[in-house]
């Protein structure tokens, strides 16, 4: 049975003391962090802090000094993200903070991905995501990207206000399996249709699966404009993405 004082990293100790309340969660956290190396604790701490630059540096160093990739995932990244999840659930932090931590996690995973390939572990799929032209909303899209990456997809984020050409170029460049578009306004929704048409015109429509989402978007709308699918939230987005890939494989 470990004690909180067994955890070397001060930041982590403070996080556990201040933000964890449920006894079982406190116990799990203490047991986890007490057993991992200080280097892993540091990675976790930086992730909880949303500091992607430090996570970047530390992950690189850890791999260079021979730390196991899975160990980094377990004890650095996942351990840190679990604490983030608890803080968010208890409303100590909010979506912007969570996204910052997810970004830090992605930065760490970026070093691990080449190792996965070397072992024949390919990404589940390659996705290009963006918010359509004229629209500056990105939270929903960012949560979907977080979820997709967490489920093993590689995602290329085109950000907001993305034009049809930018979508086409990115899909071609990254050989994407799936294109995801987001729109939050009824006035920008037509740009989804325009983008799909642009793909048809460029003779690329059959090369990629297109899924759409966003508050005013509906299944009906998706069907009307020839999208391959519609996802109501990030979880559905991932399920849809997986389903679309399966459809592809059937060919």
């Amino acid at each position: 049975m470990a004690e909180i004082t067994d955890i070397e990293n001060e930041f982590i100790r403070e996080e556990i003391e201040e933000f964890l309340e449920r006894p079982n969660e406190i116990e799990t956290a203490i047991n986890t962090f007490a057993q991992v190396t200080p280097a892993m604790q540091e990675i976790a701490a930086s992730l909880i802090d949303g500091d992607y630059q430090t996570v970047d540096q530390l992950t690189r160093e850890a791999l260079e000094t021979g730390t196991d990739a899975l160990e980094i995932m377990d004890n650095g990244l996942i351990a840190g993200m679990s604490i983030v999840g608890i803080k968010f659930r208890e409303n100590f932090i909010f979506v912007p903070e969570v996204l910052a931590c997810a970004r830090a996690m992605k930065t760490g995973m970026a070093y691990i991905e080449p190792i996965l390939s070397a072992f024949g572990i390919e990404p589940v799929g390659i996705v290009v995501m963006g918010t359509v032209k004229g629209d500056l909303h990105d939270i929903g899209k960012n949560l979907c990207i977080m979820m997709l990456r967490g489920s093993g997809f590689v995602v290329h984020d085109l950000n907001v206000d993305t034009s049809e050409d930018e979508f086409i170029d990115a899909v071609e460049e990254h050989r994407a399996d799936i294109l995801g578009m987001s729109a939050l306004l009824t006035t920008t929704m037509p740009n989804m249709e325009k983008t799909i048409e642009a793909f048809i015109d460029a003779d690329l429509r059959d090369d990629v699966k297109i899924m759409i989402g966003g508050a005013p978007v509906t299944q009906e709308f998706a069907d009307d404009m020839g999208a391959d699918g519609y996802g109501k939230n990030a979880v559905e987005c991932v399920e849809l993405a997986k389903r679309l890939l399966e459809e592809d494989e059937e060919f």
């Binding site: 996942i78 659930r89 979506v95 903070e97 190792i115 572990i121 909303h137 939270i139 489920s151 009824t186």
Partner: protein, 637 residues
């Protein structure tokens, strides 16, 4: 040496997926009360503009979120970019020293723009139905500060005084003075109560048995403590919502608010055009306003929206269809029928009533609740007239009665349970203040009644406020008094034939001109035609009408005798006139509480014949006759 086992890796991925899924779940829930762009320090991380953004003390920091938790934050989002999310002062752009502001929003001033232009930039909605040419008088704003920065009032604004301007006419002439303006705080005299006949027998479609709530026979929820329903009257100008207890039939509260769709025009035709050009905007504005009202009711009366199990909506054909996400363009063009009516006439639908899930329409209620829109009668004569027929119990009438629902569009229905005729007359806005120099809607400051005594006009204003103009009931009184004292001929010429404008209230310069009278004559003629032609078509004279039911906004305040004298209303003896107030909302409530009434009105509307006034062969002659300010004949030959 790195070693990664595929299965082991997959385990981690599954773990992460599960962790993120619960994060997403919580994010969804949190987003119902807190904007997801707001970080833990209450700062805004959005890339776009939002009305809740406030400047931080230190310019280098993020914008502060000034939003509260009461309104759906999505309403405040705009699409304009915020520079980098930080509050940056444009030191590079040359601008004047003066600013224009309304509420907390500010813009820099430049010469030559109108207040309406700034209202657009500040995203303040001002109504207009004359394409901002100064005629409809709807964009009145109060200039709290900076009158000197504007060009003086022009001809179109001459009816205003003090600090009131027409936003479309007020032009900035000095850009170095700060301006602060606000739209009028409008508290119209709205009918929220009707003469409520107590509803004795209730058999709503929503019931509760053994702790389970049923919609018809389908179980939809566990009983949470209340069984509520909403009746909504979607008036072109005013929306009324009534919260009804479905267990005992009592109306818990009724609230009214200005229909926000006014920015699309104040009459139906303009709104139909607007909807064609900007489809979805009118509906969105309406849904948001309705949801806001529902939220306020929840807070005030201590219940949750999941306890609202049915909504009954009424309104004219255009208003109803917009709510139900139906394209209304066909109502604006010959033969002026809703697509639903057309489908019904073609045999594709068995009724013109609509039922839709509240979730699909985006209204705050139980997710499984439904919205029922009463059937339409024909053309523009819509669900509100149908509801009025429920309220006056047309289904039980054995003798000939008449319903006159006065408004921008007046609807007339005549008959009895066995045979009915309906017509709609586009009277226009004259009796609601439009096109009349000193005309105005029923707001504070409107002259609502007038009498001639001792050589001058005595009057009362709404809210006892200083007289700003004259509203519908006041105009009717004025016309009647002018006739009564021979100050005006039936054809609308003043006693002094050369007089163009006569003074009504000398202290405030309120006048009535020959042109005003002409516009009123035409509006009155429309009302006259509707009633006259229908009675004639039906084969009765005014003497034969056993009861005349007067419904609608300003009908309640109208002096019936004066209205009859000038030919605005059928000459029925006063004891045969019943003012039924807002019959539409009353009818909606009754339908909400009774399946039997619902079936009855569905059945009744099918046997109502629509008379198209304009295609009546002598319509023009009747109209010209109706323009004269004299009573309708009591007996038709």
């Amino acid at each position: 040496m790195q070693q990664i086992d595929k299965e082991e890796y997959q385990k981690r991925i599954d773990q992460i997926t599960e962790l993120f899924a619960s994060i997403i779940d919580h994010a969804d829930e949190q987003s119902t009360y807190r904007c997801p762009y707001k970080n833990k320090e209450d700062r805004c991380t959005a890339k776009f503009g939002c009305r809740n953004q406030r400047k931080p003390d230190n310019r280098k920091e993020r914008l502060i979120c000034g939003g509260d938790y009461k309104l759906d934050y999505r309403q405040a989002w705009e699409t304009e970019e915020v520079e980098g999310g930080m509050a940056i002062d444009d030191e590079n752009t040359e601008h004047s020293m003066g600013t224009v502001a309304s509420d907390d929003r500010t813009r820099n001033l430049s010469v030559g723009k109108t207040i309406f232009d700034y209202a657009d930039e500040l995203e303040i909605q001002l109504p207009t139905s004359c394409l901002r040419t100064g005629q409809c008088h709807e964009c009145i704003v109060e200039i709290k500060q900076g009158m000197e920065a504007l060009q003086p009032r022009n001809e179109a604004e001459s009816f205003l005084q003090d600090n009131y301007r027409l936003a479309c006419q007020a032009v900035v002439s000095d850009a170095d003075i700060d301006i602060d303006f606000s739209p009028l705080r409008r508290k119209p005299q709205i009918l929220t109560n009707s003469n409520q006949t107590p509803i004795i027998h209730i058999d709503p479609i929503v019931t509760c048995q053994s702790g389970v709530v049923y919609y018809d026979r389908e179980s939809i929820d566990k009983y949470r403590g209340h069984l509520y329903g909403l009746a909504i009257d979607l008036g072109t100008t005013t929306v009324v919502i009534s919260l009804v207890d479905l267990e005992n039939g009592k109306s818990i509260t009724t609230s009214a608010f200005e229909n926000p769709q006014r920015f699309g025009g104040s009459d139906i035709m303009h709104r139909i055009s607007y909807d064609g050009a900007h489809h979805g905007e009118l509906r969105k504005a309406l849904i948001n306003a309705i949801n806001h009202e529902i939220l306020q009711m929840e807070e005030q009366f201590g219940f949750v929206r999941q306890e609202i199990y049915e909504i009954v909506a009424v309104g004219n054909s255009t208003m109803r269809d917009i709510l139900f996400k139906i394209d209304v363009q066909s109502i604006g063009q010959k033969p002026y029928k809703s697509t639903i009516e057309q489908a019904y006439l073609a045999g594709e639908l068995s009724t013109t009533s609509l039922t839709e899930k509240t979730r699909r329409l985006g209204i705050r209620a139980n997710p499984k609740a439904k919205v029922y829109g009463l059937p339409l009668i024909a053309g523009h004569v819509g669900a509100d007239a149908a509801a009025a027929l429920v309220a006056m119990d047309m289904a039980s009438q054995k003798e000939t009665v008449m319903l006159v629902d006065v408004g921008t569009n007046t609807e007339v229905v005549i008959g009895h349970a066995g045979r009915m005729l309906a017509a709609s007359c586009p009277a226009g806005p004259a009796f609601e203040g439009g096109l009349i120099k000193y005309g105005m809607p029923g707001y504070d400051g409107a002259i609502e009644s007038v009498r001639w005594a001792d050589g001058q006009f005595e009057y009362d204003t709404i809210g006892d406020a200083q007289a700003q103009g004259i509203c519908g009931s006041g105009l009717i009184d004025l016309l009647a008094e002018l006739r009564r004292y021979n100050q005006m001929t039936a054809k609308g010429v003043f006693a002094d034939k050369r007089q163009y404008e006569l003074t009504v209230v000398p202290e405030y310069g309120i006048t009535l001109s020959r042109e005003d009278v002409s516009n009123l004559a035409q509006a009155k003629a429309a009302n006259y035609c509707g009633q006259f032609i229908l009675m004639r078509h039906f084969g009765v004279s005014p003497l034969d009408i056993t009861e005349c039911y007067l419904a609608g906004g300003f009908a309640n305040y109208v002096n019936v005798d004066n209205a009859i004298q000038i030919g605005f209303l059928t000459p029925v003896s006063e004891n045969r006139i019943t003012k039924i107030g807002n019959a539409a909302i009353q009818g909606a409530r009754e339908v909400l509480l009774s399946r039997q009434k619902r079936e009855s009105i569905e059945h009744l509307v099918k046997s109502i014949d629509h008379v198209e006034l304009e295609t009546t062969p002598d319509f023009f002659e009747v109209f010209v006759e109706g323009c004269q300010f004299k009573p309708m004949p009591s007996v038709f030959r």
